[in-house]
Every structure is written in C-alpha cells, then in structure tokens.
Symmetry: C2
C-alpha cells in the first residue's frame, strides 16, 4: 500500500500541513478503496467517522429533496477532501456521495485525524479556510438558485465545469455527465435541461462530441449566464 508521506495528492488539500510524523501515523491506519462508477461512497444518514481523500476520479455530492429529486450540491475530484464535517460533529451525513467515474480514495478514520485537528494549528486553520470557502460558494449558489432562470444557471454551470475540470485535447469539458446529472446540478427537470442544451447547440454556442460537450462561444455563454 502506498504511503501518505509520498502521496502527491496530499499537496492539494489541508493534509499538506501535517508533519512527517503525523503522516506516517496516518498512513498506518488509512485504508484505500476503489469505488466503481455509479457506486456510493457514502449515503445520507450514514455515520462517516473520517475523511476521504480523493486520489483519482470525480464524485458527485448530492442531497435528496422531499419530492424525491436529487440535487447535486458539489462535484469533488482529485486532491479534494470530503467528509471533513464528520470530524467536527457526531451527526450523520446529510449528503450522498456517488462516484461519477471509477474512484480511487483513501479513508482516514476520525479517531486518528482528530488528534491532529486538536494539536496542529496549521492543519486546523486550513480546514477552517476550506470550510469558509465552501460557505462562500454555498451562499453564491443559494442566490443563483433563488434568482436566476434555469437558462442562466445552465450557462453558468457549463462555464464553471470548464473552469473546474478543464478541457480535453479536443477542447471538450473534461467531465462526463449524463443529462440527468446536468439537470440535477442546475436544479431542473431532465427534459428542461435537454431542451436548453439543444438550444445552445442550435445557436452554435456549444457542440456535442460524442458524449462530450464542447463550449465554442464562451462570450455568448457568459452573456446568457448574466441574463441577456
């Protein structure tokens, strides 16, 4: 099994602030796992009791609404930590995490890492920073959901996806989402998302390359997301 202290991925998240000693200790108690595409990493109501560090792959974080619809609240990928909240509160998870493609992750039990949270202020401060940033993003998302039209939200989502996940050699978004996933990101019915995507294609703002989506006219998409 690979060692935490040699893991590159760690550089991308709060774990980079752990000392050599702390990493060795962590390495000894962590477990690695492969989650297949479509399989859950954890589900609503589950006790997580630790954090997951994503070594490879993309994971959709979602929540069920009362009417049975799935809302994706975040997409996390290589380098991200997930489940930090379980370190702080003993509540069960309020979110689902499902692999969007094959997922390679490490699980670090709460019992181990909690010591670092108490004794390593650099680590704690970084967790705090990450959480503060998530909170800011969440506030922005609330405003968008409440005030923007579905069309605007789709345009914005496409731009955000490109910024976050980048593009392939051919210029397509480097993330594969079903129409349903896209609908669940922007919070609308699948058919509505499909319809709007199809409109964007007609206007030659985006094109479909097989399963991939490629943005051609960023400028226009930007305009749409701002309500023009």
């Amino acid at each position: 099994m690979s060692k935490c202290e040699q893991c590159i991925v760690r550089q991308f998240n709060s774990l980079k602030h752990l000392s050599k000693d702390e990493l060795v200790r962590m390495s000894a108690c962590k477990t690695s796992k492969i989650i297949k595409k479509g399989e859950p990493l954890f589900v609503e109501g589950e006790h997580i009791n630790g954090v997951f560090c994503i070594k490879d792959g993309i994971c959709k974080v979602s929540k069920m609404s009362e009417n049975g619809k799935n809302q994706i609240v975040n997409l996390v990928h290589r380098g991200d930590l997930i489940g930090e909240r379980s370190l702080i509160s003993d509540e069960v998870s309020n979110l689902n995490a499902v692999a969007l493609n094959d997922l390679e992750i490490c699980f670090i039990p709460k019992t181990e890492i909690i010591k670092d949270l108490e004794k390593n202020p650099n680590f704690t401060m970084d967790v705090l920073k990450t959480m503060a940033n998530s909170l800011k993003n969440a506030d922005n998302l609330i405003v968008d959901m409440a005030q923007k039209t579905v069309k605007q939200r789709l345009a914005e989502a496409l731009l955000n996806l490109e910024e976050k996940f980048g593009t392939t050699n051919e210029g397509a978004l480097d993330i594969q989402l079903s129409r349903e996933d896209i609908a669940n990101i922007i919070g609308t019915a699948t058919e509505s998302a499909i319809r709007l995507l199809s409109n964007l294609k007609k206007k030659e703002i985006i094109v479909f390359k097989g399963k991939d989506i490629k943005i051609i006219n960023h400028n226009e998409l930007e305009k749409i997301s701002h309500g023009f």
Copy 2:
C-alpha cells in the same frame, strides 16, 4: 463601556471558550455601536477585518444577484457572531448585513482575536463547529431553493422563523418583516409573496395582527411545506 467578561451574550457563541485573560484583552480593544433600523452593518465589497457580536436586535444578511434582486441568506440575532470568515481570509465580504431593527453590537478587531484563534484550540474548534453547521444549513437551503415551489418555501420559512425567533405574548412571530423581506427570504417577487400570504390567511392558516404574523394552523403549514 461594559466588559466582555461580564457580558451574558457571550455565552451563546464561540467566545464562551475564551479565558478570563483573553476576554479582558478583548474587552480593551472592542468597540460598541448602535446601528439604526435599516442601516447597514457592512456591505458587499467591504473589508470587515473583525467579528461582530450581536448584543441585541436582528440583522439580515443578504446578497445582491446580478439582476438587482436582494436575496436574504441568513437572519442573525442576539448572541450570534457575524463576520467570522474575515478572520480566516483576507477577501472582502461577499455579503451585506442590514439592521432589521435597532441593533446593538460589539466589534472585535481581527488583529486581536486572531491570536486566540491560533492559540486557543477550544475556541477554534467551536468556530469550526459553527461554520460546519452553517454549511449544512446552506446545503439544505440550496436544495430547497432548487427543488421546492415558492409556496412550499414560504410555508417552510414561516415555520423556521417561528422556531428561530419564537412568538410574542399574543402568539405572533417575534420578528417584524416587510413583505419585501419575506419575498427576499424565499426568493420570489414581492407580489408573489403577498399573494401567497393572502391565500394562507384566507385558508385561516395564518392571521395578521397589525404588522405581525401569527401562525394558527401549524399542521397545515407543515403539510404545505412538504408539498401537499
């Protein structure tokens, strides 16, 4: 000027974890202020550089959307801290805070309290806990905004307001909100909010007492918020 170490309000937030010494030091550099109803505590784009502790009154925390509409993302009151994020990041505020009624607050400069954040793990952990909880609430709000109808959101908002702010002697919500404020909480046009409130009144689920709102039929309101 009153002293932090004797302040009751402190018991309600993370400051309760500070030591006597820390409080004395804090007391020496804090400033007290009265913000009149309708006046801003801080606005979007401003450098806050400290935290506000609310001694009395209610403050609406909102964010402007691109189309010029105001979305209320939180209501904070007596005992709450606001501006914690300014301790962690040097970014300007992304939110507005406006007094809903006359507001009595203390301001503690970042330069002072940042030391406690670095050296008092109990305090840091409580800030972390508070933030984790805010994040959970924000996720829930995202799902509600994305998936619930305006009618559902109004019903839910009324119940939440009652739970958070309690009721007066006469059983009315112990918070005075304009129709516009209510609309900005649930993320809809003012007229839509008015219409729905008026419907709830017709069905004798709520009544208006002067400026106050009183919930009579909690059961029915609960049902509506769940989509029936």
